[in-house]
């Protein structure tokens, strides 16, 4: 069970959170005119990297905020957690 540093409440057990998958992928601009393919990219295609991953979590049993975490998908190490609107911390080497 991960220990997730909520940027608002502090470190809490994973049980308190809901995972939201990859962070920072956006709807295509002018999405209503976007091609089926670019819409599919937005809806379904994911980086799913083996390594550092920017991802979304919601502190559902806490402050109910969505926020971002930089986590390594092999070691599960967490390098950073940041709020919506914060500058993105760099990925560790």
């Amino acid at each position: 069970m991960l220990l997730i540093p909520c940027p608002y409440c502090g470190e809490r057990a994973e049980l308190e959170f809901r995972y939201g998958g990859e962070a920072h992928f956006r709807r295509p601009d002018n999405h209503l005119e976007a091609s089926d393919e670019s819409w599919a990219n937005y809806l379904f295609m994911r980086k799913n990297p083996k390594g550092w991953h920017r991802e979304r979590w919601m502190h559902i049993a806490g402050c109910k905020r969505w926020f971002y975490v930089v986590r390594h998908t092999v070691t599960h190490r967490i390098a950073a957690a940041y709020k919506v609107g914060d500058p993105w911390p760099d990925l560790p080497a």
Binding site: M1, D36, W39, I60
Partner: protein, 989 residues
């Protein structure tokens, strides 16, 4: 006292507390402080088990959790525990234990016939035979399954309780041997919160089994002092009988504590899992002695040298009268010396090394113990008990000598217990000098000390422990204010050289994995057949896959593979240590999440009323909802039919409190709602409500519900019962991460409001007398919302309808839910008011053709499919809009919601029945849709069904067919899915 092998003195057992126990029906005596194994040995019993595959006689081999042989069944009836390690079962008065996996008895086991056929049962034999004819495996499998398993499952539910607890600590120390104790103490002295866990009954680790000194006094005294000091620290805790069984992410370690055995009555809890979250972990789990591979190495009477030593020192038990020690290292001499000291005759030390010299061998020789250097044990004699060993020089097997003995103490060196280090992601490195793996790469938040780190002298264990403890405390934010421990141990110096772990073979059976009966030959065969990866060899032979998980056998197998492959051990690689370190019961893992507490049961504010009325309940998610209110003797279906009739003809009352409710407020509220529903909401006037459809970004219907506008910037949204949480999270997601332009506040009020729905032509008459709200159709039309008082209670009333009749949904603060309900029942009495449950609700809504998310939808259905196309906004943007125009979302392949009527009005189609265009016996037969809801309609007085059918709206009037699972195919006509009051006169009146 029948304990013939109990030494006259010594040991930490309580000689004043004799205990009586049964093994295989025979009564024996032991002492408080014994384990089942030590008590059996005290009575001269070695043979306690039959092996898994060949049913070979097996004796007690180890001292603790590493035991591969001595698996027994304890308890009787519901309290049976199969596969208990005799070496880890604390003796209690009246303990009942039985041997396993034998018939008719432990001594005469028919299954041992398989031992004779063992050449046939070489590794992987089953992959090569039992193949024909096709389908015959069923029969072979039936045969094989007769022989499967070791212990028996109890046949009654467990009478015991299991607990879980969280524990937080700055420093967790695993293992209370010299290294762990000194680590805990120095971390504790630095002010850190410390938790020290150890699987044994008392702290001390190897110091309990040995006879070392610390600062010139018996080491065990130091253990007592250190423990006492630790216990005085306010923030230090110590758990005995507690196994750390898994190290997980971010300092999370799972431990299981077993209760002190009681002799009478029941323990309050049997096992407790500790979910430990540690900032720093010190792993001081010690080392496990490794055996040696030699011919006949499984004969009862053969055991680890350290175990024989521990039985003597700790339990005051001689594991035999005359011992041979088979060694490849100096530490074995310590065991030999301690055995001799305890009065066991040590007939010889057979040492694989050509020239054992130095302090310890000298000491042994001094004591008159014969040392056969450059020798190996090349065979054992006896059947169910060792009678003699055969020893020979390693280079000349013909010069065999037979040494009579009843105990063979084996020592092949020590393996650091790195299991938890591996769980935490550490990768071990091979230390050739030790012929063992030691910590390699760093593991998250963990330091490894003492013999777990390959430090085998007591002085180093103590020194490293206290340093590691202080460092862990420092990393957790505490600095030592007190001086660190200064400890001095004196022990005869050991020569670090280790000999081979494999003795020369004379063709006898040589077990690598005692539990699973895997031999050296099996491993060699695996390599020869191309199963060269260590993982293939493991899986092909089942080496290391038994209940002991190879705690003693893994590293032996590696040396065999290394030889067979001609590769160094590091190239051979290792298999993976996985949790649990030691098997953990299902009961412990489940804790108290069983029975009534398995999941929460959520109840509405009116639940007690339903219960008193004898309602039948059904689970909806975690909620329980009244399904129907059968009168005595009435079936659920009849009750529902009666309830439907009442709701159509007079008035019914329904508990809708479980609906999800979200209070939405703020300047951006209207815009938000317009973005999350696919139909238009901006135009909704305060005081009015509208039915909304919510889509996922994939365009599929996600949830639905009525939302009322309470004020310009204030809405009350309802969701389905099951969708409440996910809708809330979904909207917050958009609001918080994408629509930062909107200032809107969501508050979940599902639990704040109790909801009673009055439905039926008399609804107005029932509500009227109770409220100050003007209910006249003109003043309070369909889809309006009013605030007022009902039965004197503050209420929000929605004129919505899920039944198709005149209907009011009355919301009051939850504490008044029951009062509201009772007031409505009272007011409705003259009109024959009838409470109705979810079954009637479903029938009512199906008659009217209303959908239920999860019945008419399954995550693949769009509003167009449901015939809601006209509702979908054309101008605004909303979530999921882009998806609706993808190429696959239109065309004749889409399924449409339709109604189905069978010729026979009495027929009720089964839910889920599939629809075909033409009946046929051909399979596969193309299907064009399925029944989503189907009921006997009391109102229409016939069976009605809703269905999703390919291009269904273009098929009105067509006959389609529904093949039944049993019975002839049924024909049905496609009709509109609105069966009742299509003009909405009843609803809007």
């Amino acid at each position: 006292m029948t304990q013939d092998f109990r030494l006259a003195k010594g040991g930490r057992v309580d000689r004043d507390k004799p205990l009586r126990f049964l093994f295989d029906g025979v009564a024996y005596d032991g002492l408080a402080g014994d384990t089942l194994a030590s008590a059996l040995l005290a009575n001269g019993i070695h043979l306690v088990a039959r092996s898994f595959k060949y049913h070979r006689p097996r004796g007690i081999f180890g001292l603790g959790l590493e035991e591969p042989n001595a698996l027994v069944e304890t308890g009787i009836g519901a309290a049976v525990e199969p596969n208990a390690r005799a070496t880890a079962v604390e003796l209690a008065d009246g303990l009942i234990a039985n041997s396993q996996n034998n018939w008719p008895s432990l001594r005469f086991d028919i299954g041992a016939a398989s031992d004779l056929l063992s050449p046939l049962f070489s590794a992987g034999f089953y992959y090569k035979t039992f193949m024909g004819p096709a389908g015959a495996w069923k029969f072979y499998e039936w045969l094989i399954r007769r022989a499967a398993g070791v212990g028996r499952a109890p046949d009654l539910p467990d009478p015991d309780r299991y607990e879980h607890s969280y524990a937080h600590t700055d420093v967790l120390v695993i293992g209370a041997g010299p290294a762990g104790l000194s680590a805990a103490l120095s971390a504790g002295r630095a002010g850190a919160r410390v938790l020290l866990v150890d699987d044994q009954v008392e702290p001390g680790g190897q110091l309990l089994n040995t006879s070392y000194t610390v600062n010139g006094r018996p080491a065990i005294d130091w253990v007592a002092e250190a423990t006492a000091e630790l216990d005085r620290l306010p923030d230090a805790r110590r758990f005995a009988r507690t196994v750390a069984f898994g190290a997980y992410d971010h300092g999370y370690v799972a431990c299981v504590e077993r209760a002190v055995p009681v002799t009478q009555g029941h323990v309050r809890w049997r096992e407790r899992i500790w979910h430990v979250r540690a900032t720093e972990i010190v792993l001081a789990a010690g080392a496990i002695e490794r055996p040696i591979i030699f011919d006949g190495n499984d004969r009862p009477g053969t055991m680890l040298a350290s175990a024989a030593r521990g039985y003597a020192n700790r339990y005051g038990v001689a594991s035999g009268r005359r011992a041979v020690v088979f060694a490849n290292n100096d530490d074995a001499y310590r065991s030999a010396l301690d055995l001799a000291e305890a009065g066991v005759e040590v007939a010889a030390i057979v040492d694989l090394r050509p020239d054992p010299s130095g302090t310890l061998p000298a000491l042994a020789r001094e004591k008159g113990i014969r040392v056969l250097s450059g020798h190996a044990v090349v065979g054992t004699r006896g059947r169910a008990r060792l009678k003699a060993v055969e020893a020979a020089p390693i280079d000349d097997a013909s010069r065999r000598q037979v040494i009579e003995c009843d105990l063979l103490a084996v020592s092949g060196g020590w393996n650091p217990a790195l299991h938890l280090y591996a769980h935490a992601g550490g990768k071990a490195a091979y230390a050739k000098a030790l012929a063992a793996f030691v910590p390699g790469t760093p593991a998250d938040r963990m330091s490894i000390v003492g013999s777990a780190a390959g430090e085998f002298t007591l002085a180093r264990c103590l020194a490293d422990g206290s340093r590691a403890g202080a460092e862990a405390a420092r990393r957790a934010g505490f600095t030592a204010s007190q001086p660190s421990l200064v400890l001095d141990a004196d022990e005869p110096e050991a020569d670090a050289r280790i000999g081979p772990t494999v003795a020369p073979s004379r063709g006898g059976k040589r077990f690598v994995d005692l539990h699973n009966d895997v031999t050296e030959a099996d491993l060699r065969l695996a390599v020869r057949e191309g199963y060269r990866s260590v993982e293939h060899a493991k899986r092909y032979t089942t080496w290391g896959m038994g209940p002991d998980q190879g705690k003693t056998g893994n590293i032996l197998g590696l040396s065999v593979l290394s030889d067979a492959l001609g590769q160094e051990v590091p190239q051979v690689g290792t298999t993976t240590f996985r949790p649990p370190y030691h098997p953990v019961s299902f009961g412990a893992l489940a804790g108290r999440d069983t029975g009534d507490l398995v999941v929460p049961l959520r109840k509405t504010p009116m639940d007690s009323w339903h219960e008193k009325q004898g309602a039948l309940f059904e689970p909806v998610g975690q909620w329980r909802r009244a399904k129907a209110y059968p009168k005595p003797g009435e079936s659920m279906h009849h009750a529902a039919e009666r309830e439907v009739k009442a709701a159509r003809e007079s008035v019914g009352l329904f508990d809708a409190s479980t609906l999800g409710k979200i209070d939405i407020r703020g300047p951006g509220a209207a815009a938000l709602i317009d973005r999350v529903y696919c139909n238009a909401f901006a135009s909704l006037k305060p005081g009015n409500a509208r039915y909304g459809l919510m889509l996922g970004e994939d365009g599929m219907l996600k949830d639905d519900g009525v939302t009322a506008r309470l004020g310009p910037d204030h809405f009350h949204m309802t969701t389905t019962t099951g969708g409440a949480a996910s809708v809330y999270v979904w909207i917050e997601d958009w609001l918080q991460t994408e629509w930062l332009d909107l200032e809107v506040y969501l508050t979940s009020v599902t639990e704040q409001w109790a909801v009673a729905t009055l439905s039926g032509p008399k609804a107005r008459q029932v509500l009227g007398p109770l409220t100050d709200v003007d209910l006249a159709a003109g003043a309070f039309p369909f889809m309006a919302f009013r605030e007022g008082r009902v039965a004197g209670l503050p209420a929000r009333i929605f004129r919505v309808s899920f039944s198709g009749d005149l209907s009011y949904e009355i919301n009051v603060p939850a504490r008044h839910g029951l009062a509201l309900w009772e007031a409505l029942m009272e007011s409705g009495r003259p009109h024959g008011i009838t409470p109705y449950g979810t079954e009637a609700l479903h029938i009512l809504r199906a008659e009217k053709g209303y959908i239920v998310v999860g019945h008419e939808t399954d995550g693949t259905i769009t509003p167009y499919d449901l015939g809601y196309g006209a509702m979908v906004a054309k101008k605004k943007d909303y979530l999921g809009r882009r998806s609706l125009t993808r190429s696959g979302m239109t065309g004749p392949d889409r399924k449409h919601l339709v109604g189905l009527l069978t010729k026979d009005p009495a027929r009720v189609l089964p839910m889920g029945a599939q629809i075909v265009e033409r009946p046929s016996e051909v399979r596969p037969l193309p299907m064009i849709g399925h029944v989503t809801s189907s009921y006997m309609s009391p109102t229409m007085k016939r069976g009605i069904a809703m269905a999703l059918v390919k291009n269904g709206r273009e098929r009105m009037g067509q006959t389609v067919y529904l093949p039944m699972l049993d019975g002839p195919t049924v024909a049905a006509e496609i009709v509109s899915h609105v069966f009742y009051d299509p003009e909405n006169q009843r609803r809007d009146g």
